[in-house]
């Protein structure tokens, strides 16, 4: 009988170790129990319910028609739903642009603010302040900034271009609405990731840079061969976080555009809430949730696997 343990001393018999292992296993489960219970109640059970609802025509106000079993009809309907397709496209487009831009900008700002100069903490506070402001409040303010007639952004563009640029209708223009929301989202989120990068930068041992300087590496080489590789885990974290942010895009859309104009700024989460709460189609909204969950999983798993593989290589 093979047991998965490493015997350390000769006095411990296999049966003792078995007992101890079992006890440890129980103990670890006991520690995990509170968290697992909460996950079960607030995440796993609702998700299982969503899978069930997605197979029915469950409505938010269910009476007086009986809730009936639809099989896969909700899923079939998703295939022909143009708004949903547009929402998926919008989320993807948002992710493709925002993830690299926000990550890069956060790194750039962190490098900039990692200098040992006076007043740096003031700049850090300035870049961080949008993060601690409620997103709904930011969205309201930016809706005013983007106003076509009297907004500050059009006035600014007009001033710096001597009247050649604008006025643009921003949130009321099907081509500009989503980029406008992207811009504000990056502005709002970049401070947080900048702080994370700063922490990462301060973890890099100075000795590496000293050794590199001795070897004659310039600043560019130091950045490329020391800073960036050392920040790899931080970058993974920031990329996962911004990807999740791209998937979860909701507040800005709800406050600023309600998915419009047309369906130019519809996102999957917004559409799901709209279908479930405003149109009372809980069944259909659940089907969207299930599919969206799978899509997020498909997107996140490769990143996580890459991280795990990279860590294994290090060991």
């Amino acid at each position: 009988m093979h047991l998965p343990f490493r015997a350390t001393t000769s006095t411990i018999t296999p049966s003792k170790i078995l007992r101890r292992n079992r006890k440890e296993r129980y103990l670890s489960w006991a520690f995990a129990l509170p968290a697992l219970t909460l996950l079960l109640i607030f995440l796993i059970i609702p998700f299982l319910l969503a899978i069930y609802f997605s197979l029915t025509n469950q409505r938010l106000a269910p009476e007086p028609l009986p809730t009936s079993f639809l099989g896969l009809r909700n899923y079939a309907r998703m295939l022909t739903d143009d708004t949903l397709r547009r929402a998926l496209f919008n989320n993807t487009f948002f992710g493709i642009v925002v993830v690299p831009v926000e990550t890069g900008l956060a790194l750039f700002l962190a490098l900039l603010l990692n200098q040992k100069l006076r007043g740096m903490s003031v700049f850090r506070a300035i870049y961080f302040s949008p993060v601690v402001t409620p997103l709904a409040a930011i969205s309201v303010v930016w809706a005013f900034l983007y106003n076509p007639g009297q907004g500050l952004i059009n006035a600014f563009l007009k001033a710096i271009s001597f009247g050649h640029l604008g006025p643009y209708t921003w949130l009321n223009d099907a081509n500009l609405a989503l980029p406008a929301i992207m811009f504000l989202s990056i502005w709002q989120g970049v401070g947080l990731y900048m702080i994370i990068y700063l922490a990462g930068l301060q973890n890099i041992p100075q000795s590496l840079y000293e050794a590199a300087r001795v070897d004659g590496a310039g600043r560019w080489h130091q950045l490329w061969y020391i800073t960036l590789p050392q920040l790899r885990n931080t970058t993974f974290f920031v990329m996962i976080a911004t990807t999740v942010q791209a998937f979860k895009l909701y507040t800005q859309v709800e406050v600023m555009t309600q998915g419009g104009p047309g369906s130019a700024t519809v996102t999957v989460i917004w559409y799901m809430v709209n279908q479930g709460i405003h149109h009372l189609h809980v069944g259909y909204a659940s089907a969207i949730a299930v599919v969206f969950f799978l899509l997020v999983l498909i997107r996140i798993i490769p990143i996580l696997r890459y991280v795990v593989a990279a860590e294994k290589r290090e060991e």
Partner: protein, 444 residues
């Protein structure tokens, strides 16, 4: 990890913590199992719970004074009022309905009532209301409170919708002052707007209150235009489809005209604030009774209140506001009616309408009203409701979908999208919803 476990084990015996953990997990669920305190003990007063939307400050104050007066004069019934934010009031009521936690009395914004009535969440009020009291209510209140031949709701007030006008600007443009018997026609309105555009000081002739954003204003404020053109939001004979009605030629003509108001610069599609009219940048303001106080304060004697225009098939305007109903889950409906009866008494209606400036729901109160009596400045709003110029929004449980589909279409049309395409999309959403609900069959 294993070393950590060993240290823990050395200090705390595993057997000792396990029951503790079990306890920790059970405590929260045990709390929720504890039965709710029974709502009324045999000796105490009957408790009537009610939900209401937290509207304007003055409205809230008036309602709480009313409820306080009721509690003081009825020792056997105690009202417990729960205030919910107006923004997502409907969502919260829907969720309460789904989880079977509706209160006895509920207020709701006009047309959302039919969904609740259809779902069986409300009881008819017919058996409670004496015919004398019934006859005193505005026909509009009874019309929109009735679903499937039963009266389900009554409100303290109705709403009025029409033009506010800047007298000076109208005179400068040489515009005729319309009356309810001879409202502006489509061509007259168009030429007035064109002339107003050139009057000094006017930036946009017509303020359509687009700052109200999405929400109910779009349907309330602009569906009368569609109806006055001869279109509608849904086929009201069957309530089974919007096809050929909302995307028919009349509705399309109405929305094309509406889109042109913005294209021609007659109206600002994206205003920053709602001060266009009060600051004298707009000559006309298409809006509800709730704007009167502010407009009157800004313009004084220069303000006119004018009836809805006739855009082809007769003048049409909006109606409907918040109203009350008794839920079927209420265990003490008689006590709930006593509360409702008190809320709907002339003196309490007078208190509320003095606070919010709305049209009093009862004719006897209108006769006493400073604003709405025959010589009052807003009498035209009362006349529109009395003479059937006001049209109820569609009386169907499909209303939540109709209003969101219509307002999405309108917002896109304002942004310059193709009118026919947008109306077709709205029709498709509405018809899909009706189909999903098997045509909203009613029980007789």
């Amino acid at each position: 990890m294993s070393r950590f476990c060993e240290t823990v084990r050395d200090k705390l015996q595993w057997r000792r913590i396990f029951p503790l953990l079990i306890l920790l997990c059970i405590v929260p669920s045990a709390c929720s199992i504890t039965p709710f305190a029974t709502s009324s003990s045999a000796s105490g007063p009957i408790i009537v719970q009610l939900f209401y939307h937290s509207g304007q400050e003055a409205e809230r104050a008036a309602l709480s004074t009313t409820l306080q007066a009721f509690n003081d004069s009825h020792p056997h019934i105690q009202v417990e009022a729960v205030q919910l934010p107006e923004g997502n009031y409907i969502d919260q009521v829907n969720v309460a309905a789904m989880s079977h936690s509706l209160p006895c009395l509920l207020d709701f914004d006009g047309p959302t009532l039919y969904r609740y009535a259809w779902s069986g969440y409300l009881v008819p009020l017919d058996k409670y209301i004496p015919s004398q009291m019934r006859d005193d209510f505005l026909p509009s209140i009874l019309q929109q409170g009735t679903y499937n031949h039963h009266l389900y709701s009554l409100g303290q007030y109705d709403s009025g919708l029409g033009f506010y006008a800047n007298k000076q600007y109208l005179r400068a443009a040489g515009a005729r002052i319309p009356t309810i018997d001879s409202p502006w026609t489509l061509s007259e309105l168009n030429s007035i707007l064109a002339r107003l555009k050139h009057v000094a000081g006017v930036q946009y002739p017509l303020d359509l209150n687009m700052t109200a954003g999405g929400g109910e204003w779009i349907t309330y404020g602009f569906s009368p235009f569609v109806e006055s053109f001869g279109g509608d939001l849904i086929n009201r004979r069957t309530y089974l489809s919007a096809k050929g009605v909302l995307n028919g030629s009349n509705a399309a003509a109405a929305m094309t005209w509406f889109q042109n108001l913005f294209k021609q610069g007659y109206s600002n599609p994206w205003p920053v604030s709602d001060t266009g009219f009060t600051f004298g940048q707009a000559a006309l303001d298409w809006g509800g009774h709730w704007l009167y106080a502010g407009n009157h304060q800004a313009l004084g004697d220069n303000l006119l209140v004018l009836p809805a225009p006739n855009l082809g098939k007769g003048a049409k305007t909006g109606m409907g506001s918040w109203s009350w109903g008794i839920t079927s889950s209420c265990k003490t409906p008689d006590a709930a009616w006593q509360v409702l009866n008190f809320i709907l008494s002339p003196s309490q209606i007078a208190r509320m309408t003095a606070a919010n400036g709305a049209v009093p729901a009862r004719k006897s109160v209108i006769a006493q009203s400073q604003l709405y009596a025959p010589n009052g400045p807003l009498h035209v709003f009362a006349l529109q409701l009395l003479r059937g110029i006001a049209e109820p929004r569609p009386i169907t449980p499909a209303y939540p979908t109709i209003t969101s589909a219509f307002s999405e279409a309108v917002i896109n049309i304002v942004d310059g999208f193709n009118v026919k395409t947008e109306l077709d999309k709205a029709v498709q959403k509405i018809d899909q919803d009706i189909q999903d609900n098997e045509g909203y069959p009613t029980r007789q």
